[in-house]
Amino acid sequence: MCQNTTEIPDESRRDFLGALTASVAGAGAIAACVPFVKSMSPSSDVLDKATVEIDISKIGMGQEKTVAWQGKPVFILHRTPAMISEMESSKGGKDPEPDSKRIQQPEWLVVVGICTHLGCVPNKTASGWFCPCHGSVYDNSGRIIAGPAPKNLILPPYHFVSEEKIVIGKA
């Protein structure tokens, strides 16, 4: 068709062809990255650990148990009636929140055991928790009372399967 034409239309066609080829090749190169990026996301066996089933029947009144959920510590506190009434009457410290919003059943407090300041694991005390790193103090509702931490201890998603079992994590 355009065998005998001058160089100009020829050039423009090459440019179009060149741009098309470059964009198809570029799209392919980007698509080729996807499997490699995704290979670094949690593998299926790790995702299986997204939830964990905990038997809480063995945790005595007033006792706390630390369990691992997604590689993080979770505190499960079996609260005494005294603790419950004390917490219900308090509003917390610098991040005020009523106790009722932090629990599903008043006897059971389930919080992620990571200090909201810089990520250390607080230690259990009679009145709550104390973070050894920078001295943050939490009450028995996991609320920040004193120290540098800005927020209350985080609540993980969980639900009661029965009276004796809870599942932590989104099912």
Binding site: D10, R13, R14, L17, G18, L20, T21, V24, A25, G28, D48
Partner: protein
């Protein structure tokens, strides 16, 4: 040059077409899964397969729940017989079956031959023509079966082999699906490269 292109694209298309219908049929894999979990799993482990994986070949949740019993969905199919007991009984630990369809020359075909290879020997003992001296008993009883029962057992062996073929390579379907897309993309890209190359080299003439 064009000949080479033609030859390679024909090869690719043959591959695509050849594998499109090669996937073993799902009902056979499912029947094989039942036999593997109920019979083979007594002695052999399938340690790279978890109960929940069986959902992906179309077994219902109820079927899987029956198969797993007390175990959880995320548990692998460990052998019901302890390795030590098996060692005492057979003098050898029965091999894991997860990769069996890829670990023998002949693959699934070998498994069918082995399972149906039992026959009464000269001395009245049952022997296996594929694997003389095998410790595994003739679990389907094919050596003593009449022709009708024989046919049934052969089908069972085919089902088990189909399941083990899936177990050895559960990604096969996804892989081929992705492969078709990739090959079509590369074919288009190569055609573009070819046109562009002709265009650029024409400047030299």
């Amino acid at each position: 040059m064009l000949k080479t292109v033609y030859w390679i694209s024909t090869l690719c298309l043959t591959l695509i077409a050849g594998t499109a219908h090669a996937s073993a049929d799902l009902p056979s894999i499912q029947r094989g899964a039942h036999i593997a979990a109920e019979v083979c799993n007594g002695c052999h482990s399938l340690k790279y397969i978890k109960y929940k994986d069986l959902l992906s070949i179309g077994l219902t949740r109820d079927e899987v729940n029956t198969l797993r019993g007390e175990k959880s969905l995320g548990d692998p199919l460990k052998a019901q017989m302890a390795a030590n007991d098996a060692l005492a009984l057979f003098n050898v630990v029965p091999p894991d079956l997860s990769l069996m369809a890829e670990a023998r020359e002949g693959g699934p075909h070998y498994i069918v031959e082995l399972l149906t290879g039992f026959a009464p020997g000269a001395d009245g003992q049952t022997t296996n023509r594929v694997f003389p001296g095998i410790k595994m008993p003739d679990i389907f009883g094919i050596a003593q079966a009449d022709p009708a029962a024989r046919k049934e057992i052969e089908q069972k062996a085919i089902d088990v082999a189909a399941f083990l073929e899936w177990a050895a390579d559960p990604q096969a379907e996804a892989r081929k699906r992705m492969g078709r897309g990739v090959l079509i993309y590369v074919a288009i890209l190569t055609a573009l490269f070819y046109l562009l190359k002709k265009k650029i080299w024409r400047r030299l003439k």
